[in-house]
Subunit: 352 residues, 2 copies
């Protein structure tokens, strides 16, 4: 087989789902029960940067995240890093990979570090292995590491078509709207907790699929609402968009609550923010913002740039709310390669 | 028509649902979408006492609750007091009714004052009009004033069979187990809020039936779980019973959360209590208690008398929980007539 020595550094951002992904139809290939849709965030606010060396001189695949070496014997780690093996095979080489990754935000706090991490890795591997794969193909590879990561392979508003084939070849991400189509739309994030999730999403989804009586109906409901979100976005109808976003977040958290045993990610702060946004919308006589929560308590408030100050000060006034931090994110343009930058300390490349 | 002069005083208690009622198939007759099951509470802890005079000397139906005269021109009041007209007709008289009612607990705080109030009224009217109706018939009359009130017409564990006829003649309450069958089962109530509900149950249910994609599935799920609850109770299996009770509470609140716009009755305190009970059960290696919430934030913890002290002290230790009051209720024996007692001030009987 060919020998190779490739290097690349890429950055990618998390995405926030307007139509949620919760439940797989195939655990191994990570094929979802329903299509989903999200907004890719801006790397200015949130990003993972990953440097990769693919070389026949490296003895074994090694991955450092925020300075910590991952344990490759852990089956969950191997699942998440599946892209390395897939892309090595596609490259026709036996090169091993050293990857060093760093987030500019805390992981496991519901801010989707696994999405940005997987997307950055896949993007960097594509360059390091010299594969030149298209975004659609890259999204299918990212999907197999962490489902929602496939939506971080593109910028703006991205949908993940669930597909129907058993081999997953029609389950990939599609850019619905460029980040320039309605660039005023932002995500105002209220970080209220840095605690690690009590129940990992992967295990939680499995419980839902196995025990939840509402699950079948969720599939139909999500597809229908996705079409409505696409249309509201196309028309730049903030009132309708916010309403749909809140409804879908509530539907996913209802699905979690009605799983047996119950899965709960929303906390006291989440409830206070939900109440406050609904009151604000009522006082405005129409929705100017919509809350949404992924598998964690931190609130994402989807609104327009011009309402940012009004909403921030409203949030700051909520009695008893302990928001640790606010972050405002515009829409991102998707992953990109960084030149002349590397997180890799050359000493790490020396054989042990 | 015959003239009449009847007097009676009755007391009745609220019930706490193990299988929840949420959604009507007939708004006017109050016919539910699914059967439900509850435990009637003890009058020692919670009760409504209602005195009734039915007399041809009274000019118009009048109802005082906790000292306040109800406005009969309000359509909602007329709906709630439908029993007066129904029972007058059954009596074959034209007598009007003066009723005076008093709760020993705050109304509209999710403690089901409408259930105990309606049950006490119906029970007193039955005696005052000399009707001698059976509990099953009384439950059908109570149902038309406030659905879940029909379950307060009997003691112990009571189910409300949803029925299938359009005229409601097969939608009534049945005693499943006497209060003596498993008398150790109690309801430990943590009152964390006295606020009036933001959304009345009646309006909330209607929203759910009209907008909720999960609603159809809820009907099947509730009937199945009701059978499981009955079996767990028959076997005095606390572990299974507690698990089913929590699952059904979560399923109803999930149904509310996924209604558009979302209906939320659980608050920060409710979430803290849910977490604490689940942790307690985990540390015991099996469920010794199950939480359940009606349309309000106050927690009902179903457990056995012998665990009361352990659970009370655990609840008292929850950080940041502001429980206003704890009440412990055994199972009640259903409504009863009180002799030699009346809430009616004779002056109120003098013509205006």
């Amino acid at each position: 087989m060919a020998s190779i020595e490739g290097r690349a550094t890429a950055e990618a951002s998390p995405n926030i789902a307007f139509i949620k992904y919760w439940g797989k139809r195939d655990e191994k290939l990570i094929l979802p029960q329903n299509s989903s849709l999200s907004m890719t965030l801006s790397s200015t606010t949130l990003k993972t940067t990953t440097s990769v060396v693919a070389s026949n001189k490296i003895n074994e695949d090694t991955f450092y995240i925020n300075g910590k070496k991952l344990e490759m014997s852990d089956p969950e780690v191997r699942e998440r890093l599946k892209a390395i093996g897939i892309m090595r095979e596609l490259s026709g080489t036996t090169a091993r990979v050293l990857a060093v990754s760093s987030n500019n935000f805390p992981s496991s706090s519901g801010l989707a570090s696994s999405a940005s991490g997987t997307a950055a890795l896949v993007y960097a591997l594509n360059a390091a292995f010299g594969l030149d794969l298209k975004p659609k193909e890259l999204s299918m590879i990212a999907r197999q590491g962490s489902g929602s990561a496939c939506r971080s392979m593109m910028g703006g508003i991205v949908s993940w078509r669930k597909g129907s084939r058993n081999d997953g070849s029609d389950s990939y991400a599609v850019q619905e709207f460029s980040e320039k189509y309605w660039g005023e739309v932002i995500d105002l994030i209220a970080i209220t907790s840095h605690e690690k999730k009590k129940i990992p999403s992967r295990a939680g989804m499995k419980q839902t699929v196995e025990t939840n009586p509402f699950f079948t109906q969720r599939k139909t409901s999500a597809e229908k609402r996705l079409r409505e979100v696409r249309e509201a976005y196309r028309q730049k109808d903030l009132d309708a968009l916010a309403s749909l976003i809140m409804a879908d977040s509530n539907e996913m958290h209802a699905l979690m609550l009605s799983t047996v045993p119950s899965i709960r990610y929303l906390d006291s702060s989440s409830l206070k923010i939900m109440d406050a946004i609904e009151e604000l919308n009522a006082s405005e006589g129409g929705n100017i913002a919509g809350y949404t929560f992924d598998a964690g308590p931190n609130a994402h408030i989807i609104t327009l740039k011009k309402y940012e100050r009004k909403i921030s000060s409203m949030l700051a006034d909520i009695k008893g709310l302990e928001a640790l931090e606010f972050k405002s994110s515009a829409q991102g343009s998707g992953p990109k390669l960084l030149t002349g930058v590397s997180l890799i300390n050359e000493e790490r490349l020396a054989p042990a």
